[in-house]
Subunit: 204 residues, 4 copies
């Protein structure tokens, strides 16, 4: 991780990087990418505009860098929490919950990831952390298919798509409805549906 951070965030004093992180959260999660404005970020972070440019090179890279950092933290958290869980279903349930919980507690991340990130560029450019997370899932899902627990007739990617699609859509709708009820609390109900979708029917 430290390694990773070094690559992503060139030598910025941690204190500065922290202020910048907060500023990016704030500015970019509250308006569409094209309306957010780097000068506001700089002002909010108490960092000079030029410094931001020297370190990130562009408005897009600034956002991408922090989104990657945050996704990295979610990934780390997932890895951490999976330890010691053996049952496949419980693993997936945990992963599903961890995502809803994380996005609920860090709505700026969900907002940016699902609502404001300039996707065309993002997809072309960096999916580092996303890839890591995806690999993590796919391994588990593939094993589940091999063991005859999960539906083997589709690419494991499809199983993932059901989970991820629901996470994204649920978050989006939750925001749309004003973030009222807890997102994470719905995890079990939602996951039960996901599980029925991806698991092999009892006797077929």
């Amino acid at each position: 991780m430290t390694e990773n951070k070094k690559t992503l965030l060139p030598a910025l004093r941690p204190e500065v990087s922290n202020r910048l992180e907060k500023a990016v959260m704030d500015v970019f999660s509250h308006s569409d990418f094209h309306r957010a404005n780097i000068r506001d970020v700089a002002k909010a972070a108490g960092v000079s505009f030029t410094t931001i440019y020297k370190h990130f090179g562009s408005k897009e890279q600034l956002v991408f860098t922090y989104v990657n950092l945050w996704l990295g933290r979610l990934t780390d958290r997932i890895i951490d929490h999976l330890q010691g869980i053996e049952d496949l279903k419980e693993k997936l349930r945990k992963v599903f919950w961890l995502q809803l919980d994380y996005y609920e507690r860090h709505p700026y991340l969900g907002r940016m990831l699902f609502m404001t990130l300039p996707m065309a560029t993002w997809m072309a450019d960096k999916t580092f952390e996303q890839k890591k997370m995806v690999h993590l899932y796919l391994e588990v899902l593939k094993k589940g298919q091999e063991e005859g627990i999960l539906n083997p007739r589709v690419r494991s990617g499809v199983l993932l798509d059901i989970m991820m699609g629901l996470v994204q859509r649920s978050f989006f709708m939750w925001v749309q409805r004003g973030c009222k009820e807890s997102l994470a609390e719905q995890s079990n109900v939602l996951f039960d549906m996901v599980w029925r979708a991806i698991s092999v029917p009892e006797k077929e």
Copy 2:
């Protein structure tokens, strides 16, 4: 519908409107919103950009207007196709397929809707057609719940989220993988999973 269109698209000579439609498709589906440029749209459409402003008022409204138009066409098509189908499962299967099929044949719409639209503003502003489509679904889903066919323990919105989440995610991944295999052809496999997720388990 005609009524509706009139509201959406102010008096532009149909020939001009057609050229503009194509231009918007092209320009906005191929790059992120903030990179797409109204002058390019105007040039491609052979209209002066000021004319665009007269009619649409802003870059965002221009895009929103056409996305609404296209979503309206999808909705119309769905309404049309649902005629004469009685079975709930077949209705939903058809709707699911219609979406994948439509986005596959009109990838610019999927690209814009799922990838380049400035969501914060879009959500705040217009979901006309989306709302219409959503109401359409929700009615069907609610009826299904009442009839004991669909899982009654969740808001009907959740059932929708599973479908829509998978549509969006599938489209997104399809683009990501380079639009190789047919999207619509996977409809049945995917829908079977969705159906297991949302229907009431055989004997409970």
Copy 3:
């Protein structure tokens, strides 16, 4: 001239161009080129910053364009005044006076031309009007040499250098001393010296 102006100054409303002219005078003649700042020019002229860039392309071109315009006016004035003067000496005397007089009444021009213009670029790029003026002089000087009135043993350019060198240096020193005495009033005294320098000695 009108022709000329069209080339130099693309369609700017004359009223705007006038305000801009004054602003350039002011801003660029009162500080060194690298300290003068386009945003101040724009503000002083009540023109948008962007408009300046659209029309001139760079800080240098903005200055060069106006300097050329002013030099063009001086050239026009010289051409006008030379009419009807036959005697070579009187022609040159007039030219000499016209320059001192012009720079005295338009010190911003002298300041910019002799003190703040980025010469390396200026020389490489545009000497349109200067060339015109120089040709004007050289013709007269060459004729004087052919007629045996002016020193024939040097390139006519050298004769010019004496005149121009003194004009520039006199202006420079005049500014240095605080623009006290009249510059044009010294014209005759100075010219007599120049004349002795460039004319063929009485009996040699």
Copy 4:
């Protein structure tokens, strides 16, 4: 002189100062002041740019300091060469030649002095060495006027202006024409003209 140099050039290891001198020559004589860039100077000199700031305080001071140093060397050379010449005309001829010769052999100095120096600031700030040189000349010229050899009807400054104006203009034109013929070799021809301009006409 040593005293003087100490004032001008603060304690820099002579080796460093030499490298810096060359770098300043190079960088500032080849482009306009505002395009020349201190980092390039630092790089060329193998010094950190911060060191330059410690010693010179600003880009302008850096240039001014070295120009003064070089002008000082020219002045020293002039003082040296004037020794033992009694005849006024020969003194002035020598001085005139020394300047053309010096600028020809050190074109970077001429370039900087006559073409790239930010004059407004230079004039306001430092003319140390120039003043010294000027005083040197003025003394000689005044004496010539008192002795009835030089035109007594103008300020001695004017006599100087003719010389200096021609030096500057000749250098400038020489550069403009590509530094082809030798500048110093034209000294006599030019000086004869200057002499006619400033001396009292044979019998008047």
